[in-house]
């Protein structure tokens, strides 16, 4: 084998100086003075709290996106030695000297800077010239809004980076098949992992890839076997890898955050029990199987509006409600959102009197009929054909008191374990989701979600409902706290109920169960729709109708705004329009058999449109359908696609549309003039991008190019 190695050893390297130059400039624009301002800027206040929770390894749930983005921010904080001890409560709050601001903002800034060379390379992969690539890179380089968004602890630049990387590596693979495809899959997984918005670009990439694969299938020069192998290869890299990665981010997230915290209560009891502290401290060592004589607290599976436990207290329903309807006047049964000794119930066998657990314990199984005795008042859980206080179409549930008015006790309940695996499954603490079905009426114990008025202490109403939806979580109850009762006497039992629970068994739920629950909660948690001073509607983004004030110095007029470069913005819109017009004209003429450009150029033109115009569409149109609060920065990914489009389109026009040299020269001059004005506007808006130098009110007034922009002046 020695002849493989031939002397002399030679290293030849080709360095694209343009690429190096734009990269250096990008790093300079994104990374210089990164720790100014030394204060919380805009959404840092939002992401910061999660970074702090990461540092403390406390569990949280954020419906704004999957965990990778937060993890990237947190890793930056970790590298800078941030200990999580900072209260993120107000935009503009000064960071103490212990917080390494530079490291907090480093990773997003790096990603933002890398976008510039990526766009350069991506244009080359779209088979346009180095000059076009330079143009695209410069457009991105001098875009004030991208600079602002990159320089702080925000996620858009990270998202844009991964999306561009995914497209770049896919096109690299497409042009020259190699191992780049796997990188594309990884970037897709990362993009979706940073923000759900990445999904749109991912789907576009899948469409482009499947079109290419479709062509491959049609290629009859390739053997069937080869086609199969290639197709499977693509599916593996572009579908399986991203999905696995997406799950992997959650795996890391869940295994890293193992302490209980503020968002625990949104999760099921089983989930909470898997976190350190919180519920697991209370429930550690409880008996697993619920038996006759068990003392339990029953938690409703709904956590809307708040988590609560089945509760009763020594107050009766009012004889008449405000609207004149009557009640049974028996003891109230409610759902109470706080831990309380009145949340304890005892499981009783209807056939026997005793309220203690036998030795060995007789477990309660699916289908068994039980009675529930309220621990502190000894009333039986009862329901009957009386309309419930707030939801009159359902039955009232009460603690039974015999008033001797021919209203007999109906206190038998059948246990229905809805997540059972076998028919005779035992009722398990925390794990089993149980429905209590009223034996006499077949109604099911249900949390109606309505608060009782003053007479019910504003606790939540509990009813029994005959007409229920089959899979509603408001019907499900889980045993949360549990112990085997040992005292037959009421006095002893009260003392027992007041004492904390004990014994030791360890319980775990699988990663998949946790993943599914967390994912479901993230998608369904509805945050209250809030109006924001700087929110805007998607159609306003195209013309940059609004800006966002990110930060204002506490005493001077120095301020940072998210304002794009208006000239580049205009160029982007113009090229979008121009491409569509040109595409329509080309298409119609080609359909009539008039080929304006050769087939190779046409393919290049179509590919450009698929990636750039398609990318703009998928990143813009979905927002029109959303009724979330939206901001200008949601438009930035779509904008990047347009910056990719503009120079390429210009090159296309230069080479294929203009025939005379004079026109071509005029176009070049025009392009140069536009570039120059882009640079000048960039310079003009720099003070609002970097937050320094401070401008006078008059100068600020001069920067208010649109009436609808909101620029702040401090009264002196």
């Amino acid at each position: 084998r020695w002849e493989m190695l031939q002397l002399p050893l030679v290293v030849t390297a080709q360095v694209d100086l343009l690429l190096v130059l734009v990269s250096l400039l990008a790093f300079w624009t994104r990374l210089s003075h990164l720790n100014y301002p030394n204060a919380v800027v805009f959404d840092e206040v939002y992401y910061g709290q999660f970074v702090s929770l990461y540092m403390k390894r406390v569990f949280f749930i954020d419906d704004s996106g999957p965990p990778l983005g937060h993890m990237i921010l947190a890793s930056g904080a970790y590298l800078g030695g941030f200990d999580g001890n900072f209260v993120w409560n107000r935009i503009g709050a000064e960071y103490p000297s212990t917080v390494n601001v530079w490291s907090l903002r480093l990773l997003p800034a790096l990603c933002g800077a890398l976008c510039v060379p990526l766009v350069y390379l991506l244009t080359l992969e779209l088979k346009f010239s180095h000059l076009s690539a330079l143009g695209a890179a410069v457009l991105l380089l001098l875009e004030n809004s991208l600079i602002v968004q990159s320089r702080f602890m925000l996620l858009e630049s990270v998202l844009i980076f991964f999306v561009l990387l995914a497209f770049f590596s896919y096109l690299r693979f497409h042009n020259a098949p190699s191992s780049w495809l796997i990188l594309s899959g990884v970037s897709c997984g990362a993009a979706v992992g940073v923000k759900y918005m990445g999904l749109f670009s991912y789907l576009l990439l899948l469409v482009v890839a499947s079109l290419h694969t479709w062509k491959l299938i049609g290629d009859k020069t390739i053997s069937h076997m080869n086609v199969c192998v290639q197709s499977v290869h693509r599916v593996l890299c572009l579908v399986v890898v991203p999905v696995l990665l997406y799950v992997f981010w959650f795996y890391v997230h869940l295994s890293f955050l193992n302490r209980s915290g503020p968002h625990d209560q949104l999760m099921s009891s089983a989930f909470q029990a898997s976190l350190q502290g919180g519920l697991s401290r209370i429930t550690r060592g409880q008996p697993l199987e619920v038996a006759y004589g068990s003392q339990v607290t029953l938690r409703s599976s709904v956590s809307q509006p708040i988590p609560c436990w089945l509760h009763s207290h020594k107050v009766n329903y009012p004889i008449r409600y405000d609207n004149g309807r009557g009640s049974s006047h028996q003891q109230q049964v409610t759902c109470y959102p706080f831990k309380d000794v009145n949340n304890w119930w005892i499981i009783k066998d209807p056939g026997r009197q005793q309220l203690v657990v036998d030795t060995p314990p007789r477990p309660v199984r699916h289908g068994d009929v039980i009675q529930l005795v309220h621990g502190m008042t000894s009333r039986f859980l009862n329901s009957h054909d009386v309309a419930a206080p707030m939801s009159p179409h359902t039955q009232e549930v009460s603690g039974y008191i015999d008033f001797n008015v021919s209203m007999p006790a109906q206190n038998l309940w059948r246990v229905d374990i809805s997540n059972r695996e076998a028919e005779s499954e035992v009722w398990k603490t925390i794990l089993s989701e149980v429905r209590l079905i009223h034996v006499n009426t077949s109604a099911v114990l249900k949390l109606s979600g309505v608060s009782l008025p003053d007479w019910g202490f504003r606790q939540l109403e509990v009813v029994a409902d005959k007409l229920f939806k089959a899979h509603s979580s408001s019907l499900e109850w889980t045993v949360e706290e549990h112990r085997y009762g040992t005292s037959q006497e009421q006095k002893e039992r009260e003392a027992e109920l007041h004492s904390p629970t004990h014994i030791d068994v360890d319980r775990k739920i699988s990663f998949w169960a946790k993943f599914v629950e967390l994912q479901w909660k993230m998608l369904t948690v509805k945050q209250e729709e809030s109006e924001h001073k700087y929110s805007s509607s998607p159609l306003e983004w195209i013309t940059m109708e609004t800006n966002i004030a990110y930060w204002l110095h506490s005493s001077t007029n120095a301020q940072i705004h998210l304002i794009g470069n208006p000239v580049s913005w205009g160029v982007a819109n113009l090229s979008l329009l121009a491409y569509q017009l040109l595409a329509v004209v080309y298409l119609l003429r080609r359909r009539r058999g008039l080929k304006d450009v050769p087939d190779g150029v046409w393919d290049q033109f179509v590919c450009l449109g698929c990636v750039c115009v398609g990318g703009w569409l998928v990143n813009f149109v979905p927002f029109l359908l959303m009724d979330k609060t939206l901001f200008l920065y949601h438009y930035l990914p779509a904008l990047c696609y347009l910056y990719l489009l503009s120079p390429a389109l210009l090159e296309h026009a230069h080479t294929h549309l203009l025939s005379s040299v004079t026109h071509q020269r005029a176009l070049c001059v025009g392009a140069l003039a536009v570039l120059l004005s882009i640079f000048l506007t960039y310079r003009t808006f720099c003070p609002l991008t970097y937050g320094s130098p401070e401008l006078s009110a008059h100068q600020l007034q001069g920067l208010k190019w649109r009436d609808t922009w909101d620029i702040l002046y401090r009264r002196r």
Partner: protein, 761 residues
Amino acid sequence: MAKAECTPKWNTLALRNRKTCPTPEKSFQTTFTPVSKDKNSQTAGHLAGGDTQSSNGPSGQFLARESIESPSKVLLMLVAGLSFSTRLYMITEPPHVCWDETHFGKMGSYYINRTFFFDVHPPLGKMLIGLAGYMSGYDGTFPFIKPGDKYENQNYWGMRGFCATLGSFLPIFAYLIVLELSNSCTAAIIAATLLIFDTGCITISQYILLDPILMFFIMAAVLSMVKFNQQRYRSFSASWWLWLVLTGINLAGALGVKFVGLFVIILVGLNTIWDLWRLLGDMSLSLVDIAKHFLARAFALILLPVILYVTIFAVHFVVLNKSGPGDGFFSSAFQSRLIGNNLHNASMPEYLAFGSTVTIKNLRIAGGYLHSHWHLYPEGVGARQQQVTAYLHKDYNNLWVVHRQQDNNSQSGNPDLVRHGDIVRLEHKETTRNLHSHLHEAPLTKKHFQVTGYGINGTGDANDLWQVEVCGGRKGDPVKVLRSKVRFLHRATGCVLYSSGKTLPKWGWEQIEVTCSPYLKETPSSQWNIEDHINPKLPNISLSVLKPNFLEILLESHIVMFRGNSGLKPKDNEMNSKPWHWPINYQGLRFSGVNATEYRVYLLGNPVVWWINLASLGLYLTMVAVASIATQRGFSLGQQRIEHSLVLVRGGGLLMLGWLLHYAPFFTMGRILYFHHYFPAMLFSSMLTGLTLDILFRSADLLLHPPYSYWFQRAGQLLLLFSILYSFYLFHPLSYGMTGPLAHEPGSAMADLKWMDSWEF
């Protein structure tokens, strides 16, 4: 060449639309490419029947076409007969108001009584119901108060019969559409059978509802479109025009009944674009021809439907000229058209003055009147002071008195006018509280401030003062009643009186939230106008200047409808149906009756039919994928196989697109959804099933040898027919009414049929 050969056989008129020319040398492909500019001769391959000519071999389509001609008439009669008999059977049962009959029956009555009302749907459906009622002798007096009310001796059968008749056309249309798309009687009959024996389709056709009317127009539009597509080689012939214009008319009808009609418009639009694209690529047509084609379609599919749609509204406004329950939803100008409304031919003082009693209406369309009542905000919602809301209906509690900052007594002599920039105090007439705001957060829009009624007999505090600002006015401008847009700026906090459009919970009687917004943008939500104006000391003038023109009315009624539609949010205790429930027939709708003793009707699809449909969707996708990969990969397929894959891709693709268009948009809708929203999509799904299963049976020869494959085909068809019929026998009580115990109780007729826990019969 072909023309020359044919000419001797051509009579002038009789054969104009028929093709009798034997063209044995024409291959299958040429049937798709017209060869000369003479439109009359371009009809090869599309026989109109009665043609015994058979070509030898290449044109399988000819064969299929001819073999189906004779039985198809008989089958069509059979389909029609079964369809009408299943729909019209027991049409008058139950003799009480069922489900949404309470709305649509009532609205039909409004047309007979010419009373103005408000509904979220366009008027055509209700107009037709009204017309049917009128023709059948219903006098419009039945109140339709709530489901379960007995009709007694009212003539309700006419309205029900009308809906059922339209509903009976659905299987017939489905039969014809599938026949056109697949050229196969079997496919057509499968589709029709699925629809005839579907309990859901029967139930939804039998009552006074908009859905049968809507589906009639949707299916008719699709049928005309498909027929029109078949006319492509006879451009600009009479039948070409007929089907084109019919498509346009039916589109207008569909949109005129419900906005869901928009989806079929999109379907036809896409089909037309594809058609034009095909024509554009046809190099034998000159650009002038293509322009003609384009203009013809633009006229028939855009202009004509728009004209018809607008006409429907014109009729609506002309017929409904009396004041009624819908007034409050509309602007003051709109109301002045209605006889009986207090703004009709009204006269009132022209300029707002101190001491006047007024109602103040929000300018947001359907924004409501500024309102207050004797109820306090509940604890935990800002300060416990009197509620101030916006209310859509006319009410005594909408009256407010305009006072000066200080004095309470009305002076003698001419009162002073309120001018731009003046400070006023608004006193609620009924409760004598002042309109008040303070730095507590508003109940729903947390970033705004709460607005309350405060003080008693006009004495309050500095937070009761509001500055009047006429939009676009200058200091000193008077406030014109009805015409000026006014904003009320709170003096103490600088916020502006605002109606957020959000519905308050039960404690606020589900009226609309009123807040004080710190964001001072001029939006209709923060602008108000003075509607009623009572001041005996000022001279009244007539306000006939207000009359809006037709286009303004049209626009306003649309905005109100869209608002109403998006305002239909699910309520607490209502069953909320999710779109993914629908194709699996997860849960039905109770049309009538709950208890064991009542006569119960339950809208639920025949599960066998629906599950076959669901399975066929998957089957279709698989078959198309296999077929297109085989074609793309260049496998050599037999003639018949190529035809099958063409039918699958073209015909099936059209139906699949129709299904998607009528189903997918519901996933993005925020409004409350019901099971019956799926029925238009279900029609497409059933037609697709017919087409798919037919081709599946015919492709049995891929696996089996000829005699067996033929047996397999027959056996499959029979099994399908039998299972549909048997399941219909089992489930027919869902449509035709059940009494006795509920299904989960012992002794019920439906005992073992509760196959899913979520069904409630």
